[in-house]
C-alpha cells in the first residue's frame, strides 16, 4: 500500500513536474512542487484518494508544504467509536494517502492522533484510522490523558487564552488538519476549525466559556496547519457529530483543500448547505475566526480551482 501510494504520488508529482518543464527527481519531492497559485482546490465526484490526488496536485504538490526531514502530524477526526461508513470520523484511506504523501515529500516522521470523545482505543480501532495510519508508516500517538498535552499561550485569543495542546503538535515542524464535514448539535457545523478541539486537552472549557468564541480562539494558535483537507466524501447531515444510524449520512463525494482555515470551512459549509440548509452566520466561529484574522470567508478574494471528476 505504502509503495503503491508512493509511486502514485511520485507519478503525479512527476507529471506535474513535466508540465512545468522541471526536472524529475523522486527523492527530493520538494522539487516536484508547482506554483499553481491556487488558494483553494475543491474536487467532487470521485473516490476519496483520487480526489485527494487531484486536489494536492492542484495545490502544488505535498512537497510545497512538507519539507525534507520534517516531523509531521496528520490530525484527522477520530472522535467517535464508529465505523467509517457512519461518517463520524475522517475517511481512513484519505488519511493513509496523506501520510504516504508526507513521507514521499521527505517527512522524517508522521504522527496521527486525536483526543477522542468515546473510549479512545475503540475509536482508534473501529474508525479504521489507527490501522490505516500504521500501515502507511505513521506513528499513532496516545492522546487520552492530560500528560500528553503541553501548555501553550494563545495571545490573540479572546476567551481561551491558555490551553494545553497535544505534544506532537507542539513539537512538530508542520501539521495537516484533516476533518470530516458534519453537522453539529452544539457548534452547528464541524469542519477544520472545530477539529482543533481534538488537539486541546480541556474541551469542557470550550463549552462553558462561549463555545463559538473558543473554537475561533483555538485556531489562533501560532502553529497553523500547513493544509486543511476537508473530507466530504461521506457527510453527516443530521444528528451530528456522533450520529446514530446510516440514515444520517449522505454520499457527497467531495474534498476541499486550502491553507486558509476560514475559507475552506466557509466553502465546505456552503457545499453542505445544498444537502441541508445551513446559515453560515449561525456557525458563529466562522465570523469570529475572521475577526481574529485567521482567514477569510470572502471566497471571491481567493483563487479557487474547482475540479469535477
Amino acid at each position: 500500500m505504502e509503495r503503491r501510494n508512493f509511486l502514485k504520488a511520485a507519478l503525479l508529482g512527476s507529471v506535474a513536474g513535466a508540465l512545468q518543464m522541471k526536472g524529475i527527481d523522486l527523492k527530493a519531492a520538494d522539487k516536484t512542487t508547482v506554483e499553481t497559485g491556487n488558494d483553494m482546490v475543491a474536487v467532487m465526484g470521485g473516490e476519496p484518494v483520487p480526489m485527494y490526488r487531484k486536489a494536492i496536485a492542484a495545490m502544488g504538490g505535498m512537497g510545497k508544504y512538507i519539507k525534507k526531514g520534517y516531523k509531521v502530524v496528520v490530525k484527522p477526526n477520530i472522535g467517535w467509536d464508529k465505523k467509517p461508513e457512519f461518517a463520524a470520523n475522517t475517511n481512513p484511506e484519505l488519511v493513509a494517502a496523506i501520510i504516504s504523501d508526507c513521507f514521499a515529500a521527505g517527512a522524517s516522521q508522521v504522527t496521527v492522533f486525536d483526543h477522542c470523545c468515546d473510549e479512545w482505543q475503540a475509536c482508534y480501532e473501529h474508525s479504521g484510522i489507527a490501522e490505516a495510519a500504521r500501515k502507511a508508516g505513521a506513528e499513532v500517538a496516545f492522546a487520552h490523558d492530560e500528560k500528553y498535552y503541553k501548555p501553550v499561550v494563545l495571545p490573540k485569543a479572546v476567551r481561551l487564552k491558555n490551553a494545553k495542546i497535544h505534544e506532537s503538535i507542539v513539537d512538530c515542524d508542520a501539521w495537516i488538519n484533516v476533518p470530516i464535514l458534519k453537522n453539529h448539535g452544539g457548534a452547528k457545523m464541524t469542519v477544520s476549525m472545530k477539529n482543533f478541539m481534538g488537539i486541546v486537552w480541556d474541551r469542557g472549557f470550550f463549552h462553558s466559556n462561549n463555545l463559538q468564541q473558543c473554537i475561533a480562539d483555538a485556531s489562533t494558535y501560532e502553529k497553523m496547519p500547513v493544509l486543511n483537507i476537508v473530507d466530504a466524501y461521506r457527510i453527516m447531515t443530521q444528528n451530528g457529530p456522533k450520529g446514530k444510524s446510516l440514515d444520517d449520512v449522505q454520499l457527497a463525494k467531495a474534498l476541499f483543500i486550502s491553507p486558509d482555515i476560514v475559507a475552506v470551512d466557509t466553502a465546505a459549509i456552503r457545499f453542505f448547505s445544498q444537502f441541508r440548509k445551513m446559515d453560515l452566520a449561525s456557525v458563529g466561529h466562522i465570523a469570529k475566526g475572521e475577526a481574529l484574522h485567521i482567514g477569510t470567508s470572502d471566497l471571491s478574494k481567493l483563487k479557487i480551482e474547482r475540479i469535477k471528476m
Binding site: 473510549e119 506513528e139 496516545f142 490523558d145 452544539g186 457548534a187 466553502a267 456552503r270 457545499f271
Partner: protein, 535 residues
Amino acid sequence: MYKNLKKVRIIFAGLFFLIILASFLHFSSGWGTQWTLKTQFVPSLLAVFAGSALAFILLIVLTLLLGRVYCSFLCPLGILQDIIGRISVAIGKKKGKKKNGGYKKPHNILRYSILGIVGVLFAAGISYPLALLDPYSGFGKIAGQIFGNIELSVTNLLSEIFPSAIYYQQYVRFSLGSFLFALIFFLIIVLMSAFRGRLYCNTICPVGSLLGLISGASLLRPAIKKDMCVRCRACVSECKSNCIDLETKEIDVTRCVACYNCMASCKKGSIILAPVWKKPGSANKAVEAGNTDTSSANAGQDKQEIKESPTRKIESIGRRNALIAMGALGTAMVAKGLLKKETPAGGFSSGGKLGIAPPGAQSITHLKQYCTACHACVAACPNGIIKPAALEYGIDGFMLPTLKYDYKFCAYDCNICSQVCPDGALMPLTIEEKHLTQIGKANFRKDHCIIVKDGTDCGACDEHCPTKAITMQPYKDGLLLPHLNQDICIGCGGCEYVCPATPKAMIVMANAVQTQAIPPKVEKQEKIQVDDFGF
C-alpha cells in the same frame, strides 16, 4: 505414579491461576479468559438460577469422584494460599521454621456454623454474607484492588520509559472502601496461609466446608496403607490441611484439599489414591501389584475391615453427612428459586443518590441476590466506569458494582460487563439488547444549562447522546437548547459526563428496575445528489 500427582496439580493450578488472574488485570482483560470464571463454585451455583447448571453439576460430580480437587486445582484463593505458603516456607527455611504444624482437630462447630448461617441467609435471598466469604470473589477483590493497582503503577512507570509504546492510565479503578476490604482480607489470608496452610479453607470458607461435607461420599480418596506406614511424619509436615492423623493412620477427607503433597512426601509410597470400597490395609493389597492373588487379598481385606470397624463408621457418617449436605443445598436452592419471584422489586435503602447498576443487572434487587462482588465486571470495563459501590445501594450493597460517570460513560456498543459476569447477576446482553436496556434516565435541569445561564452555544450532551434522546431545538437568539426524551434515553451517562456546567445540567438517575427503552427514532432522509459546489 502417586508421587507425580503433586506435580500435575502444581502445573495445572499454576496455569489456571494465571488465566484467572489475567481476567482481572488491565493488560490482559481483553484476552477473553473470563469464561474460566464460570468454573468457580459459587458462580456456578448462582448460574443455576440464570439457567445454566452445567458447571455446577460438573463440580459436584468432580467432588463426588475425587473430593475437594476444586480447592487445590481451581480455586484461585486456594492456589494463592499455596503460593504464599511456598514463599513463607522458602523464607522460613532460613529461619528453621516448622511447616504447617502437624495434625489438628477440625473446628467443626465454627466451620459448619458459618456454612449454616451463610446457607440459610442465601436461601432467604440474602446473598451478602456469601459475597463476603466466597473464596473466588475474595480473590477477585484482591486481584482487582491490589494486584490491579500494582499493575497500574508498573505500567505507568513503564509508560515513562517507553512513552510511545505503553500508555498512561488514570488511577480510576481505585476505590477506597474496596481497597481496604481487599487489603484486610489479603492480610488475613497471608497470615493464615503462611502459618497454618489451608486454615481459611477449613474454618471460614463456606465453599470449603460444603465441598468437605460432599467429599464424605467421594469415591477416590487419599488413604494410608497402614502396614506400610512407619509413622515417619513426612506427610504430616507437608499437609496444608492438618488432616492426617497418624494415631489412627486416617486422613480426614472433609478437610483434605486434594493437594497430594502427602503422596509426594511419603518415602515408602504408602499413601495412595484408593477407591473407598477398597481399604488399602494389607501389604499385598492389589492396587498397584495387580490381581494375581485375588482371593487371599480379598480375604485379608475382609478381615482387616472387620477389625477396622471405627473406620467404616467414619465412612458411613461421612456418606450420611454428604447426603444431608447435598439435600440441604438442594433445599436451599429450591427455596431461593421460589423466593425469587416473591421478592419486591425495589428493596433498597439508600440515603443519597441510588447507584446505577450495570446493564444486564435487571434490578438492584436481582443484583443484590446474585452478585458476589467478584469485580470481574469492574476489571473488564474498558471505560473504567464500573466501581465498587460505597453505600449507593445501601449497606447490603457495599462493594457491588455501580456505574460512575465522573470520568467516562457507558460505551453504546459495549456489552462486556454482561458477558464476563460468571454469577448471572448481570445477565448476558447482545449489543442489540444493550442498545435498548434502560439502566437509568437522564434528567435535564435547565436552569444549570450553559445555554440558559450564559446565552452561548454548547450542546455537549447532544453530541454524546447515542440514541438522540437529546436533540437540539430552537431556543432564542439563534441558540439551540437540549430537549430530552426520557423514553429513548438508556442512561449511558454520556451527557452527564460531558456536561460542562457546575452543577451539572444533565444527571442520570438510576432505574431500580431496568426497563426497555423505546428504540431511537428512525429519521430517513432523501439521498441527495448535487452537481454543484454551492460556492
